[in-house]
């Protein structure tokens, strides 16, 4: 046993083993990286990304302006503005401010929502040129951030 060890050491077998591992991996089928804008990663269903206000079949917002999300938010970055409709005596959503720049995508707001009206969707390309652009209003939450689309 000792002799085998010595022979292995003398013939640099330990180093050659490691070199064989790296050599083997040159096989192009071992590649794992992707070319991002051309290959996009698969996003899971539960992904917590860009916040969206959900609409029902008739295109009406599900939000009832209860403010549960604003209460649940650890960063207190959600501000819900509402007016009481004089006819139906129901709250109507007027404003929904979401400061994405401070959001940590913890998902507590969508958890708190009783009507599943707020959703952290699968959008992940949220980079913008200004901080102000990250202060999303109701419009952007409804229709998504209308960023510039770049093409090579």
């Amino acid at each position: 046993m000792k002799i085998i060890e010595m022979v292995r050491r003398f013939l640099l077998i330990d180093l050659l083993e490691g070199m064989w591992v790296t050599f083997r991996h040159q096989n192009p089928s071992d590649l794992v990286t992707e070319q991002y804008p051309m290959n996009r990663p698969e996003i899971s269903d539960r992904f917590r990304g860009q916040p969206r206000l959900v609409k029902d079949e008739n295109g009406k917002l599900l939000c009832t302006a209860c403010g549960a999300c604003a209460l649940a938010c650890p960063e207190k970055l959600i501000k819900v503005g509402s007016l009481r409709d004089p006819e139906t005596k129901k709250k109507v959503l007027t404003d929904f401010d979401f400061d994405l720049g401070r959001c940590m995508f913890c998902g507590l707001c969508e958890e708190a929502c009783p009507s599943n009206a707020l959703n952290l969707s699968s959008g992940y390309e949220l980079a913008l040129y200004t901080r102000e652009g990250l202060e999303l209003g109701k419009d952007q939450l409804e229709n998504g951030i209308q960023g510039k689309v770049y093409d090579k």
């Binding site: 269903d45 609409k55 079949e57 969707s121 699968s122 229709n143 998504g144």
Partner: protein
Amino acid sequence: MPEVPDGNPPNPVPAQAATTPAAAPAAAPKPVPQPWDCELVQQLKNSYGSGIHDAATFAGQNYLVVDRAVCHDVLLYLYQQLGYTSLTDLTAVHYPKDELPFEMVWILFSMAANERVRVKARFADEESAPTVTDRWVGANWMEREVYDMFGIRFTGHPDLRRILMPDEWTGHPLRKDYDPHKQDEVWVRKNLGIESGQ
């Protein structure tokens, strides 16, 4: 199914199915402190008498409330006689309204008995606590942190400086009277060159 006109569609709703849990086991009764009485406590009481204010068990965890005068001796006694060889944690809690506002907490641990015990002692403001670095080297940084965050000084500590905050910072952030938005404006202006670090 709700729909969104463009951009990234919202995730399917079933992801939230778990928010309405099925029947779960009934919650256990809320824990309350029970008096803790065992040989160890008796030994301590025999040695230190009125120095041991309280010995209790809360949620299955034992703790001792001791007088500040004997706290160091109690800790050493626990180490030497009762085998609580490792200091798991050392921290403080601030109760600004109390007469003795700072409560030091030492969490000791005995590997042989697989048991933890918390030792607590109250200190007045501006009062120094005894260091335990003479027994546990690892207490060095923890005591520095307590000094940094609460302003409790430790007598006999080899190197009592701020550890997490900058050296020249004024104020001790984890005190209850330290507002979360408060900062050392002079330091921020001088060292960061901005008006506010917020």
